[in-house]
């Protein structure tokens, strides 16, 4: 029995773009691979940067994680600012690229009959996961950088597993499609990019290649015009976002970026991830009664801010780099973490759990590895740009470690437990 063909997009006549074809899809596919590949790699690097194997750092449950993590580096100090700035900026810039890529294969969604063989059925399931996860990653990513949470799930957990689904379906898509991409590249190379509008001709209709139009309309855009269109969109969003990661005068150019300005006065005027008010830090917690507790086994030590200030201080220019992509480099002054470790004989400890005075929130504590707390320029900062830290930047004392993700630079540090 043959099913009657439904109308509209299920009929080949519906599709008349002269640009669709294997060459176009191949090239847009490579571009998508470049953008999404960059975002995926830097995303998994960010997962590793949180050192989920230490203490209570894991946000994705440890027994339900992939063995993709390694000891995060402490050098170069701008490493996380770079990888995470790239992750977010390239992720935004991928929106028009993914849209163009999906446009180029839209006719396949409506192919009739929808499935012609078991191979096609399994492939379509995988493509479904691919489209779903890629749009999901962009949509949740955009919401997250703007603190807009129209969902009850944990962003990190959902974004991570969606990235696993995405990577799995990407890899198999590459296995299936890269041979086509290479054969198209061998056949035509970049030649179609040299054609202007007048010389743009459709690829001849081929019933085997169902993204090509049977009756193509006259072109209104050349192929390079389409690439320019999509990449122009990426460039516009890059200009709109990248300044929050690059800093300097570009920060103000970033017209769409959430962290294009600072928050604070004078030396403390730079972006804040979480204000003291949001963290429920009160003046009583940080006033004259404030003590930093150091613990190593049975050894404990309690230090006031004045005692900390009397120690040998070090100043270092280090970035605060947020998982949301923004970063800002400031001159921090404080006690080297290695010196604090030495005070309780913990130079050889495997890790240190740093706890904030903040009464609750999953990121109120973070564990640092041995390499991190012993790193050159890893500080318990007391001052920034020669002024006392403002309450919003972590007064009386905050952690600042080279290449550490922003939120792990715990603010309002109350206790450090070496183990």
């Amino acid at each position: 029995m043959k099913l009657p063909q439904p109308p509209g997009p299920f009929r080949p006549e519906f599709w008349d773009s002269p640009l669709r074809g294997r060459w176009m899809t191949s090239m847009l596919g490579l571009l998508t691979l470049l953008f999404f590949g960059t975002s995926a790699i830097t995303g998994f690097l960010s997962h590793a940067a949180y050192n989920p194997g230490l203490g209570t750092n894991a946000i994705v449950p440890r027994d339900a994680d992939l063995p993709l993590t390694f000891d995060w580096l402490t050098s170069p100090s701008w490493l996380y600012a770079f990888t995470q700035g790239l992750h977010v900026t390239v992720g935004f810039a991928a929106i028009p690229i993914l849209t163009a890529k999906l446009w180029s294969v839209m006719p396949r969604l409506f192919q009739f009959p929808p499935v012609r063989s078991p191979a096609e059925a399994i492939e379509r399931v995988s493509i479904g996961l691919f489209v779903s996860s890629s749009v999901f990653l962009l949509a949740t990513g955009v919401c997250n950088v703007f603190y807009f949470y129209p969902f009850a799930f944990n962003f990190v957990v959902a974004h991570y597993y969606a990235a696993v689904i995405f990577s799995a379906s990407l890899l198999v898509h590459l296995v299936v499609k890269l041979p086509i991409v290479f054969s198209k590249l061998r056949e035509q190379g970049l030649k179609p990019l040299h054609q202007d509008l007048a010389s743009t001709v459709p690829e001849p209709y081929d019933p085997e290649d169902d993204v090509r139009a049977r009756h193509p309309a006259d072109p209104t855009l050349s192929r390079r015009g389409l690439f320019g269109f999509a990449l122009g969109g990426s460039a516009l969003l890059t200009v709109g976002m990248a300044g929050q990661s690059l800093g300097g005068p570009l920060r103000k150019v970033a017209f769409l970026a959430p962290r294009r300005g600072g928050f604070g006065d004078g030396p403390n005027d730079f972006a804040v991830n979480k204000t003291a008010a949001a963290a429920r830090i009160t003046p009583e917690m940080t006033g004259a009664g404030y003590r930093l507790e150091l613990v190593h086994g049975s050894k404990t030590l309690s230090l006031s801010r004045a005692q900390l200030l009397a120690m040998e201080l070090q100043t270092a220019d280090l970035p605060i780099a947020c998982v949301e992509g923004w970063s800002t480099t400031q001159a921090w002054t404080g006690v080297p973490l290695a010196a604090l470790a030495a005070m309780v004989g913990a130079q050889d400890a495997g890790q240190v759990l740093v706890e904030s005075l903040q009464p609750r929130g999953i990121l109120r504590k973070a564990a640092l590895s041995h390499d991190q707390f012993m790193a050159d320029r890893a500080l318990l900062a007391l001052k920034v740009n020669d002024a006392d830290l403002s309450p919003d930047h972590g007064y009386p004392a905050r952690i600042i470690v080279p290449a550490l993700p922003g939120v792990h630079n715990t603010k309002w540090v109350g206790k450090m437990t070496f183990s």
Partner: protein
């Protein structure tokens, strides 16, 4: 295998391996907090593109076509791309920044970051305006050039 399955055995093995990993991740999602919402969002992501975004921009393109025809009268210098490009970029910027542009739940953002969403709407309109103006200016230049070329 090829006759029954429809592709090479490598195709089958690669898909089984990929689906095993993907379904493992789906399984983890089902154990996560608000699992139903994640699944709704994953399905919704496909619908967002295939049932909302694609029909919407296809429709917009049709509108752009008739508007362009009204502008250029089917003449030598087509206006279509001078409409398409700024409209698409304007929409793209909106998609990338809508929470700030619409000041959605600004209170949440201000509580954690100390700053608000002042100026995002204005800057979005300003950049969009510049794109439309630039596109219109370019169109005017092209029409004038075409007219001059005809007059020669």
């Amino acid at each position: 295998v090829k006759r029954i399955y429809g592709a090479s055995p490598i195709h089958l093995l690669a898909h089984l391996a990929s689906l095993a990993l993907a379904l493992w991740a789906v399984g983890q999602i089902l154990d996560a907090r608000a699992a139903t919402t994640i699944v709704i969002w994953l399905v919704g992501s496909v619908l967002l593109h295939d049932a909302i975004l694609w029909p919407l921009y296809s429709l917009l393109d049709q509108v752009a076509w008739s508007t362009a025809l009204a502008i250029d009268g089917g003449g030598r210098v087509p206006a279509i791309n001078h409409l398409r490009v700024p409209v698409a970029l304007c929409a793209l910027m909106f998609i990338a920044g809508f929470p700030a542009i619409l000041e959605i739940r600004e209170g949440n953002y201000t509580r954690v970051s100390g700053v608000g969403y002042d100026g995002y709407l204005g800057r979005w309109l300003l950049v969009s305006g510049l794109l439309f103006a630039g596109s219109a200016a370019l169109y005017a230049v092209r029409v004038r050039r075409a007219a001059a070329a005809r007059g020669r």
